[in-house]
């Protein structure tokens, strides 16, 4: 189809293909930067690596305005309730990229203070290994997420996110009933999950 007769042309496609095409090329990243990976992420945003090539340069520090969270760095137990709150506040459909080994599994910090992987408390779509990952790896992670978005059905994320909101309600209910802080409630829920053999709390 040449450009000349584009005006008269009719293109047929599936709705989800169009929506997904739009979604994947206009991701709004929220950098949840806690540690070293956030410094490396600056390189991804800066001139040499330039994430805007992938349509994801409009960084928003408010979760309400973004739909892709990059968890950059170690998440400690103290930070866990904050991460859950911020994930809950993000605009739907929301995606999470766990950047670096600390976010993915606790990494080298197998200690009393560190959460052993954020996938225990929030859903994660793409894991990027490395300590810290090179900027190319982070870009590759974003590209992998784009591939994933391309293949999604429109209703698929609804179910995914509903499970998280249910767990958040359970957490709030537990906090209200027992007077625990958010961190203690998450700990209780993790212990419950461990007792039933479930890998996550959502």
């Amino acid at each position: 189809m040449s450009e000349m007769n584009l005006q008269e042309a009719v293109v047929t496609t599936r709705l989800d293909a169009v929506v997904n095409w739009g979604r994947k090329n206009s991701l709004w990243p929220l950098p949840f930067g806690t540690a070293c990976c956030a410094i490396e992420f600056m390189s991804v945003m800066a001139s040499k690596y330039d994430m805007s090539r992938f349509g994801a340069e409009a960084m928003r520090f408010s979760p309400r305005q973004s739909d892709m969270m990059l968890v950059l760095g170690t998440v400690t137990n103290k930070m866990a309730p904050v991460l859950r709150t911020i994930y809950a506040q993000m605009a739907e459909p929301k995606w999470v990229i766990s950047v670096g080994v600390c976010a993915s599994s606790g990494g080298m910090y197998r200690t009393y203070a560190t959460l052993q992987g954020i996938d225990r408390i929030i859903p994660v779509d793409v894991y990027v290994p490395g300590c810290p990952p090179r900027p190319e790896s982070m870009l590759y992670g974003v590209m992998k997420l784009q591939e994933k978005i391309e293949k999604e059905g429109l209703g698929m994320r609804k179910d995914h996110i509903r499970r998280f909101y249910e767990s958040l309600e359970r957490q709030k209910e537990l906090e209200a009933r027992t007077g625990l802080t958010g961190q203690q409630a998450i700990r209780e829920m993790l212990l419950d999950a461990a007792a039933t053999g479930a890998p996550t709390i959502f």
Binding site: F32, M79, M108
Partner: protein, 402 residues
């Protein structure tokens, strides 16, 4: 999240409570500051930290001396090599040894490169926080070159783990010096560019002058070190005051400010980058003078013997086995060793009971005392000043919380 309880009493007054952090763009990591405001004026700021407390000191007690080096990378992650060098110098002090001359020159080279990279991040991000995005983009080109150099030397861009107890992991590759020369040519121009963007920029002046000023007495009492202390006017630099790595043989000046405000700290950091370039030029000449040679001590009770010897000689194999299984034979004792990191005095206090692992390892983070004075510095000022102040303090959560 709930550790600073916002009480009924606090809410009842005329003051408004605003929570900055722990996930906030200006907090460079994870800090939380609870601000009590009257209009735009900050009446009280309560900083809280620990959101990146990962238990590094506890881990250090469970790792051998060489295994701790990767953890030092992740303290001040903007300038990892400075931490590597500081730690290696501390362990060498405990052992009572010195690394070979070539290693010392290379350590100085990579340290000064890391100092420039750290100042680039600090200044670039401070400007971004205030609203000047361009300087960040201009400067990061140089930082990428520094990271390329680190990658050549150590194989990793950021977390280099370049030093070992008694020397370095390996010598510089032959490709290092050509790129280094290019960097030395380009970097002064980039710093000039930064200065044209900011130094005489009236908006930058309005936002930074007079913010967070501090006298020398107060700065010393608060435990300030590094560029923040020098901006107040005291020329205290451990590279000159208590030289290590033969810094006394390099010719460079210590820039000092007068008031200690954000603008002075900016000027001090810019000038320190220039002085680092001076040191780098001298270090390159020195490297040629020293010539090729070992970069790690040839005492196989401390450093691993070369692989070809391990495969061919019985004695080297035994040394290798002993070092890996039983670690370095450490004397019983305690040392405190400090080096001038990009933020100030980075100290390592190591207590050894003669075992494979340190009995206690303490990291003296330069930015903890600086951050603890945050309330005093922003009280009675505007929220916008708090943002400028936090950026100029260069609080790195990794070393703050450990």
């Amino acid at each position: 999240m709930d550790s600073i309880a916002i009480t009924r009493q606090m809410l009842d007054g005329d003051r408004m409570i605003v929570n900055m952090g722990p996930s906030h763009p200006v907090t460079h990591g994870t800090l939380r500051i609870v601000l009590e405001l009257e209009g735009e004026l900050i009446m009280k700021a309560t900083p809280e930290m620990g959101y990146l407390h990962r238990g590094v000191e506890k881990l250090g007690e469970n790792l051998s001396y060489n295994q701790f080096i990767p953890l030092t990378d992740r303290l001040d992650y903007c300038s990892s090599i400075l931490n590597n060098v500081g730690y290696a110098v501390a362990v060498e002090k405990l052992l009572g040894i010195q690394d070979p001359p070539r290693s010392r020159v290379i350590r100085v080279m990579v340290s000064e490169l890391a100092r420039i990279a750290d100042h680039i991040v600090c200044l670039g991000i401070n400007a971004v926080d205030i609203g000047a995005f361009t300087a960040f983009l201009y400067l990061f080109k140089q930082r990428e070159t520094i990271y390329d150099l680190f990658e050549m030397a150590a194989g990793q861009r950021m977390h280099t783990s370049f030093t070992r107890v008694g020397g370095l992991m390996r010598d510089l590759p032959p490709e290092f010096l050509p790129l280094f020369d290019r960097f030395m040519e380009e970097c002064p121009a980039a710093i000039d560019e930064l200065e044209t963007l900011l130094t005489r920029n009236p908006i930058w002046h309005d936002r930074t002058k007079g913010v967070g000023a501090m006298s020398i007495e107060d700065a010393v009492n608060w435990g300030y070190t590094g560029p923040c202390l020098r901006a107040s006017g005291l020329a205290q630099d451990l590279r000159v005051a208590q030289p290590y790595l033969d810094y006394e043989t390099y010719d460079f000046d210590i820039p000092v400010g007068t008031t200690g405000d954000v603008f002075d700290r900016y000027l001090v950091r810019v000038e320190e980058m220039r002085q680092s370039l001076r040191i780098l030029a001298q270090a390159k000449r020195k490297l040629a003078e020293v010539g090729p040679g070992p970069v790690i001590v040839e005492d196989y009770k401390i450093a691993l013997p070369p692989k070809e010897k391990v495969y061919t000689r019985m004695e080297s194999l035994i040394h290798h086995f002993k070092l890996i299984m039983h670690g370095i034979e450490m004397p019983v004792g305690e040392v405190y060793s400090s080096t001038e990191a990009a933020n100030g005095e980075l100290g390592f206090y190591i207590v050894s009971d003669g075992g494979k692992n340190p009995y206690r390892i303490r990291v003296r983070p330069p930015c903890l005392p600086i951050f603890s004075s945050f309330d005093e510095k922003v009280r009675g000022r505007l929220i916008a000043d708090a943002v400028a102040e936090l950026g100029a303090m260069n609080v790195i959560a990794g070393e703050l919380d450990r």
